[in-house]
Amino acid sequence: MAKELIKGNEAVVKGAILAGCSLYFGYPITPASEIAESAASYFPMSGGTFIQAESEVAAINMVYGASSTGSRAMTASSGPGLSLKQEGISYLAGAELPCVIVDVMRAGPGLGNIWPEQSDYNQIVKGGGHGNYKVIVLAPNSAQEMCDFTMLAFDLADKYRNPVIVLTDAYIGQMMEPVEFPNKRKEVPYRDYALYGDKKTRHNLITSILMNTELLEKHNIKLGKKYQEVEENEVKFEAMYTDDAELILMGYGIVSRMLQNVVETLRQEGKKVGLLRPITLFPFPNQKIAELADTADKFLVAELSDGQMINDVRLALNGKKEVHLFNRMGGAVPSVEELLEAARKYI
């Protein structure tokens, strides 16, 4: 283990290389540019490839090409770039190609601004591109998790032959924290469906087109089963003081860091408050929420958006308990004090 004080965005790059990723294709955008900048040095230096593509559209399609050859490949961007990548992500999901995409969210809509928001939740977690598909979404809240989840993302992508998105925000990306890195690079698994440019794999075909309605329906059903398997096996969340909590606070990414302080403060005052932080946004911790619905009275969801994740919480609660929203938008990040005040209203 080597420990380094490092920015979240840079931890992504080192984690990716240690996960065996050898190709990075990107297009600059604040606040994700540091990922591209650091990839531009570290990928070539470690024997890999870095290309600044002509657009996010091109970048995701380069990932598609590279992934077709059995290599681990990635790209990173922010909201406006993710909007452009959606076409490619749909193709990757359709062709069942693994890849990792990092979205360092900024504020929108349109050009918005470069400060943190969590308003890409819907476009990332709910698909965003055309067709019936899903991507696995991981939401780190520390520099360490930026590294760890990027590495995990590559494994999940290969395991399920599907794109995995690391959904993060400007704060987590900019922040420096100590990160422990493994001291071995991962082996990239052999993909028997890929095109290695040899006799053995010559007959392989990477495509998402299926003209026959029955075959395409079957393909969709198969994808659906895969996502179900993901839901059964890959749910991750962090629960703090939830067992006896009357009020459950929910938030992911940077918001969960503030909520940690809120819960700790309220617990010191003897208030029965807990924190549930979804780590995977798809698959969503529905079951955990349903369980908490039996023990807790109220839920408060804090988001840097107009209330996107809260809809998934509502679905999971299925009307059993009241759910409230605390939100900020436009790049404003609430202070711990602001969130404390919001939480007190429901105690």
Partner: protein, 477 residues
């Protein structure tokens, strides 16, 4: 010209199973379609060059989307217009493969304009085969960027008007203005002579790639009898009479003989080399620090602020790094967003003996104000009983709060006396450490030695720490 019945080249599947249906012998292309002929020419070349196993064809969106029905080679199907980007990814990942981007005119010259131009400009070592049939075949005969002026299509029912739709785009001409492409030629499918020429041109474009010479671009004027609503014979005539005068058939650029083959040697690094490159050599240092001492203070929530150039961000990083060396939990967040105004910079630094929640300091218990505006901005936010250190060389007022511990240090003056104003931040760190004892000064100095990139400044920075410690001992003990 009658469609020639050639023996099926070996690079075609014997039976087109992927096509499905009952007729597995013939292609899905219309009679007289250019795609069928070009497929055959390409398949023959692949066999003759002995590259069947390592060739990957990127099929586009267009009538040739189903090229993979036929070619017994690696096949990847790309989104509309993106084939050159996909080909880039394929080739960059596997430099030994032979990658062909096969595209129609809508795909390449309209929706994929950026992708083809930039792949060409990067000089990707790929072969692009561009079928210019002046129409969108697959979607039923709409206007293409290469549709001739006056040509009627479903979306130019009165004939393409240059005023409304502009003139047909000449891709060879555009691509050949770029530095990187090695070979750019336009051919046509009209007679035996031109078909033979096309065979040669395609082979040359492939040979360049096999020799690792770079980007080759072949544009082929090809008939779409269905889209043009013409017979095969009339289609060939139309190419000759209408297209060739506007799209001259010739070599636009050929520097393949002057080009040195590029090296495609692969660098494979060992784990150790990778860790070195990433700057992650394991330190071998065990977690030996006694965490009990950490109980001595609760979380330090610091705001360090000043003018850009006063090294406030560096001071924060350095403090975080020092604390990390003592196995504290640390976080550093630079001023980001609406806070950052008027040329001032600040950072939030948290040092704690337990997991850190918010990395954003809104109510610091330590404020380091390197200039007046920083004190003005953050004085009121400091927690009761907190610590405020001001740089009294620049801050021209006292701390107004009487419920905090205020320390004034002429940081800039002290630093200039040392001969380097840039070490004011380190003097301040020294003072802070002496005041709080959060981090051992020996650890602090080790960290500076490790982290300071410019080694020639290590000594003066270490001295600055001492100066800070000394100032507090002499003035505030």
């Amino acid at each position: 010209m009658k469609a020639q019945v050639l023996a099926k080249p070996k690079a075609f599947y014997d039976k087109f199973e992927r096509k499905g249906g009952t007729n597995l012998e013939t292609t899905h292309y219309c009679p007289g379609c250019g795609h069928g002929n070009i497929h055959k020419i390409l398949a023959e070349a692949i066999v003759d060059f002995g590259i069947q196993d390592r060739t990957v064809l990127v099929s586009p969106v267009g009538c040739s989307v189903f090229a993979y029905y036929y070619f017994d080679i690696g096949n990847v199907q790309a989104a509309h217009g993106r084939a050159p980007a996909v080909a880039t990814g394929l080739k960059r990942s596997n430099k030994d493969s032979i990658v062909i981007s096969y595209q129609g005119d809508g795909d390449l010259a309209a929706i994929g304009g950026a992708e083809i131009l930039n792949a060409a400009n990067r000089g990707e070592n790929i072969t692009v085969i561009f079928i210019n049939n002046a129409i969108y075949g697959m979607t039923g005969g709409q206007m293409a960027p290469t549709t001739m002026v006056g040509q009627k299509t479903k979306t130019s029912p009165f004939g393409r008007s240059s005023e409304n739709e502009g003139h047909p785009i000449r891709m060879c001409e555009i691509i050949s203005t770029l530095e990187a492409p090695v070979y750019v030629e336009r051919t046509a499918l009209v007679d035996f002579k031109s078909i033979n020429r096309t065979k040669k041109v395609l082979r040359k474009a492939l040979q360049n790639q096999i020799d690792n010479k770079g980007f080759s671009f072949v544009e082929i004027l090809a008939p779409c009898p269905t889209g043009w609503k013409m017979s095969s014979v009339d289609s060939q005539k139309w190419i000759e009479e209408k297209m060739i005068p506007y799209f001259p058939v010739k070599v636009f650029k050929d520097i393949s003989d002057d080009i040195e083959p590029r090296s495609i040697k692969k660098k494979t690094l060992t784990d150790k080399e990778i860790l070195d490159v990433l700057g992650l050599a394991p330190s071998g240092k065990a977690d030996t620090v006694d965490k009990d001492f950490l109980g001595k203070f609760s979380e330090q929530k610091m705001k360090i602020a000043g003018f850009g150039g006063q090294g406030v961000l560096t001071a924060g990083v350095m403090l975080a790094a020092m604390a990390m060396e003592e196995n504290l939990e640390v976080s550093w967040l630079p001023s980001y967003g609406p806070e950052m105004r008027g040329g001032t910079a600040n950072c939030s630094v948290h040092l704690s003996n337990k997991r850190i929640g918010s990395p954003l300091t809104t109510n610091p218990n330590v404020l380091i104000a390197m200039n007046g505006p920083s004190l003005d901005a953050f004085e009121d936010t400091v927690e009761k009983d907190g610590l405020i250190i001001t740089n009294s060389s620049i801050v021209d007022r006292k701390v107004k709060r009487d419920d905090v511990k205020a320390i004034e240090i002429p940081l800039t003056e002290m630093a200039s006396k040392m001969g380097m104003t840039a070490v004011a931040n380190m003097i301040c760190i020294g003072a802070y450490l002496e005041l709080t004892k959060v981090i051992d000064t020996a650890t602090a100095k080790d960290t500076i030695k490790q982290h300071l990139k410019k080694k020639e400044f290590v000594d003066i920075n270490l001295k600055a720490i001492d100066e800070g410690v000394k100032y507090i001992r002499e003035n505030y003990s």
